[in-house]
């Protein structure tokens, strides 16, 4: 944990002091652009912005969560991430990672809030229980009180993981703790939802890098998620999509279709209604991702994915001319991706209510 008061150097100055050449800095910018899903042509602009960037203070709050999001982030493979977290942002409070505990830790949080009032970033993982504050407390402070108190002086809030973004697993029916998302409580500050269970580490760090680089937050979709990472469905970016288009599907985990890598739609893949960057960013140093490993997408970056009616059931979509509705939305000036996402989610909600199973032909109408 760095002393934020003494950190007045820009990122460029800091790197040069560490003996990093301009080439090294350009490599840093190249990987940062890739991490932020920005085109390589943006590298000069990123270099110029990062050269002048100053370390933002970050306060990380963990509420009703499993620490999977922190695990995801701390295992990020980009060299930029260790630098980003430990050198180029000032991580002033994270009770899982910091050595201090109890009053000492809370003093660090309060000091960071006081010294950086109006400028610091609050990262939240985990949902907030409203039924009884005693369900989750830190140093005797309820999650709700700590969130409100900490966010009061923040520049922005990043809700990391599906629990913080949408309530997640604690919010699953019957939601015994009365769990809610950050955005259901915080209405007066910008909230970015970085959903996923867990989110892809480079997506978490990409959002932080965006703030570090441009001093603001990226463009968001209708669910408050950065469009650069959540703008396209898993289905549309899936390398197995050509098999879907040809009508070639795996029916079980060990049939000919599974061995040949055909589409997993009939095995319950939620790719058509899920918006995330797994298909291109992948996991474990870009090694693979669930569909490449032979398992359908669970839809973990979408609201209420735990209550979606079974991971291995083919998605259910009720009848209706969804393609036509999307077209009308686009004519009306609504972004097609956002419109399709909303319709898909509405369709899913209706289908879950009606318990309808449908065919591939029905799905075709939505893609």
């Amino acid at each position: 944990m760095a002393d934020s008061k003494t950190e007045t150097k820009t990122l460029g100055e800091s790197l040069r002091q560490q003996g990093v050449s301009r080439r090294g800095f350009l490599k840093f910018c190249t990987t940062t652009a890739s991490m932020m899903a920005l085109p390589p042509a943006m590298v000069p602009a990123i270099a110029e912005a990062l050269e002048k960037a100053r370390r933002p203070s970050v306060i990380w709050l963990s509420f009703q969560e499993c620490t999977g999001c922190t695990e995801s982030l701390t295992r990020a493979h980009a060299p930029t991430i260790e630098n980003l977290i430990f050198d180029h942002i000032s991580l002033d409070y994270h009770h899982t990672l910091q050595a201090a505990a109890g009053e000492g830790a809370e003093a660090a949080r309060e000091a960071a809030m006081h010294e950086n009032f109006g400028k610091y970033i609050v990262v939240v993982d985990g949902s907030i229980p409203l039924k009884d504050p005693g369900f989750s407390t830190i140093a005797g402070i309820s999650n709700l009180d700590m969130l409100k108190e900490t966010v009061a002086g923040a520049a922005a809030v990043i809700a990391v993981g599906s629990c913080a973004a949408f309530g997640g697993l604690p919010h699953a029916s019957p939601n015994p703790t009365g769990a809610v998302s950050v955005s259901e409580i915080i209405k007066d500050k910008p909230v970015v939802n970085v959903s996923g269970c867990p989110p892809i580490p480079t997506v978490i760090s990409g959002v932080l890098a965006h703030f570090l680089t441009f001093g603001g937050l990226p463009e968001l979709d209708d669910l408050g998620r950065p469009k650069v990472f959540y703008g396209q469905s898993i289905h549309d970016r899936c390398y197995r999509r050509p098999f879907y288009d040809k009508g070639l599907f795996a029916e079980t985990f060990d049939d000919e279709g599974a061995r040949k890598g055909w589409c997993l739609y009939r095995m319950g893949c939620k790719g058509p209604m899920t918006y995330n960057a797994c298909a291109t960013t992948k996991w474990n140093q870009g090694t693979s991702w669930p569909v490449e490993s032979g398992h359908g997408c669970l839809g973990c970056s979408e609201p209420d994915f735990w209550d979606g009616g079974g991971f291995y059931n083919a998605i259910s979509i009720p009848d209706g001319d969804i393609a036509r509705n999307i077209g009308l939305g686009a004519v009306a000036g609504v972004a097609v991706g956002a419109a399709a996402g909303m319709l898909n989610r509405n369709a899913k909600a209706d289908a879950v209510a009606k318990h309808e199973a449908v065919t591939v032909d029905d799905l075709e109408k939505t893609s």
């Binding site: 050449s21 080439r23 190249t30 390589p40 493979h77 980009a78 970016r237 050509p242 490449e292």
Partner: protein
């Protein structure tokens, strides 16, 4: 009960049989268009392979088709990067690794020389300053006999 060694091990299909997804071919077409642009207008292009939805075998097929050309460069800055010209002049593979050898970016750059290989202005200014300082003192001149003495701490 079946023992572990009794379970047949099936060897997965070789790379040329795995690459049935067809995602490498569009990238090769994009490279061809970029090469034409480079030839006609000197405009260079960078393709970030991380943004391409490759399946198993696609990347291997792409790099296999591109092959290796006459130039290979090792860049040591925040980890080792391998940069080489492919068998198609003007098409470069830029493979950035971090200090632990993990890949952090893989790009195809269509250019006369990849941008990162050019000496940067700030490094040039720094070089002039450091060499001037060396030449000012007898010790600095003596130590110039060891070429490693002037090396930066970038690794």
């Amino acid at each position: 009960m079946q023992k572990l060694q009794d379970i047949d091990i099936r060897v997965e299909a070789p790379v040329d049989q795995l690459a049935q997804h067809g995602n490498a071919v569009p990238v090769l077409h994009e490279i061809l268009h970029a090469l034409r642009r480079l030839g006609e207008t000197e405009e260079s292009t960078t393709i970030d392979l991380r943004s391409i939805p490759f399946g198993p075998g696609d990347e291997e097929l792409l790099l296999d088709v591109l092959g290796h050309g006459e130039v290979a460069v090792k860049l040591e800055a925040l980890g080792v990067s391998e940069i080489y010209e492919t068998a198609f002049a003007g098409v470069w593979v830029v493979d950035h690794r971090n200090t632990e050898g993990e890949r952090i970016a893989l790009q195809i750059e269509i250019a006369r020389v990849p941008e990162i290989l050019f000496t940067q202005v700030t490094d040039l200014i720094d070089s002039i300053s450091r060499l001037e300082n060396r030449l000012r003192t007898p010790d600095g001149v003596a130590s110039l006999s060891n070429p490693m003495n002037g090396r930066r701490r970038d690794g």
